[in-house]
Amino acid sequence: MTRVLHVRDLRVSFPAPDGHRFHPVDGVSFSLDRGETLALVGESGCGKSLTSLALLRLVPPPGRVDAGSTIRLGDTDVLSLEGEALRRIRGRRIGMIFQDPMTSLNPVFTVGDQIAEGVRAHLPVTKAQARERALALLQEVGIPDPAGRLDAYPHQLSGGMRQRVMIAIALAAEPEILVADEPTTALDVTVQAQILEVLDQLRRARGMAVLLITHDLGIVAGRADRVAVMYAGQIVEEAPTLELFAHPSHPYTQGLFASVPRISGPVERLTPIGGTVPSPTAFPSGCRFRPRCPQAFDKSELPPDLLAVGPDHRMRCWLAEGRGGRD
């Protein structure tokens, strides 16, 4: 499989009031192959959104990507690009869709204009050609009556349709990678199903790689090939989807599974994870999950490395040392 994205030791830092810098993203590494979907799973504050922004060098100031991080798009070193070269990868090689389609679309421009803009920014086409392309894209994302919708304004469309428009804009320049940051969180569940279906179809048709950022384990189960679970700025478990769901190993992952209400199976009292997510300005020392971990032990005082627990399955926990292979 061709690797299209390689991220190593990504660190994003922000200045704290006392002058030091803190790291909401602290040493994240992963890679993406052509045509595969990697899900980045975690709750608010774990750093997953910042990670995706960093890929496009969109980290809002005063935050910045720290030296020592590596982001490689094929052969291109994203972090060394400047100006025009950087602009050329945004949209052209990596496309991004955001969570809230209402605020991500410009309310004073028509939908067709916004898609065409995405096309013209990267492809040498005339206005007329761009418009045709926009029409084709609207069709591709499954908008009914695309010709009629080309000149509609965002507020005239429903949430599901707006999200499809966002997808069309993101795909306008034919990127190799699509980063989808909680693309369906703001949508109703039936609309969510539609959008995820569209994304899947497009991915297969174009051979795109998708980085899917979400907190919803159900979406992950249905749509991702591989999963990386994030907590407190770090990846704490990564595995192919089937493997992760069959053998969730990190106590945080296990906690997440135990706290999700199920649509089938027995109804039992949920077991939430005690405590609260730590603030990036004050991550615990040693293993960051230790204060909330029911299985913490003395070695947890040392920050754990990513250790193997199964086939292609690693977790950031000293408990892995008890089991080199499957439990």
């Binding site: 569940v189 539609q194 995820l196 159900g218 189960a221 209400p261 649509i263 089938s264 939430p272």
Partner: protein, 337 residues
Amino acid sequence: MTSVSPPLLEVRDLVKHYAAGGLFAGGPPVRAVEGVSFTVGRGETVALVGESGCGKSSVGRTILRLQEPTSGRAVFDGTDVFALDRAALRRLRRRMQIIFQDPYSSLNPRMTVGAAVAEGIEIHGLAKGAEVARRVAALLAEVGLDPGYARRYPHEFSGGQRQRVGIARALAVEPSFIVCDEPVSALDVSVQAQVLNLLADLQRERGLSYLFIAHDLAVVRQIARRVEVMYLGRIVESGPTEALLASPRHPYTVALLSAVPEPDPTRRRSRIVLRGDLPSPSDPPSGCPFHTRCFHPGRNERCRTELPLLRPVGATLAACHYAESTPAAAPATAASA
């Protein structure tokens, strides 16, 4: 309903229309709620489920008379809620409370958490002086917060903690019934579980009844004994939770159920992806509101012209002419490797 005692809340033919405003002023009204009827028993949790635009939040607010109904009746413990004068309504507010969805806008940013919780106590004169502070501390502890937090402001708390404050605030007046308007939708997964457990515990300890408004069927299953499924302002299916989820009879319920992403990659259910978009509530379809997107093979002219009424089908009530033959989603199968 198997209990013999009369229901705590009975809602009959509730209708709520909003006049079209803003750019659309003078246009057709938004028919948010179009004749909804249900009951909530003592100590029971009934869930009102549906997607955006179905009118569930409007139902919740109208029952409490935070908005005036267009027509219909709501009888709470023998009292006609819509017929009360201001003073009597104020007294009733002690017994019927509400918890809101958005933890960020449901607390006054310029009021300490303690003052927010104490407000109900002050309004109804339930305690004076030092007793108020004592009660506030006890309530905060009951919802799992450190009583010392009373002096702090909402912005110092996380979403989950704010939601707990909202619950404490509602409990302060000692209600017997609480409308929970999507109380966990805006929370993270693990926090959601904490709050759900809290609500369940409080129900047990205080004998509360809940009208639980939500869009997430999995959450509803966790906490509600009966479910009312809403679509475009009407109840399309109603019944005990397990029965409704095990064999849904209305096509919308089937679609809703199949769309819920399940955290189990080995269960590959066939997903029913609905065509089209939700019709506008100011211009609902004729006949059955769902017919424009319905996938039932038996769908025909009758669906377009005649509004189906809720009738018993199997273990639930469903508003569909052909509910007996509604195709279920393909049964869940374990994928082979």
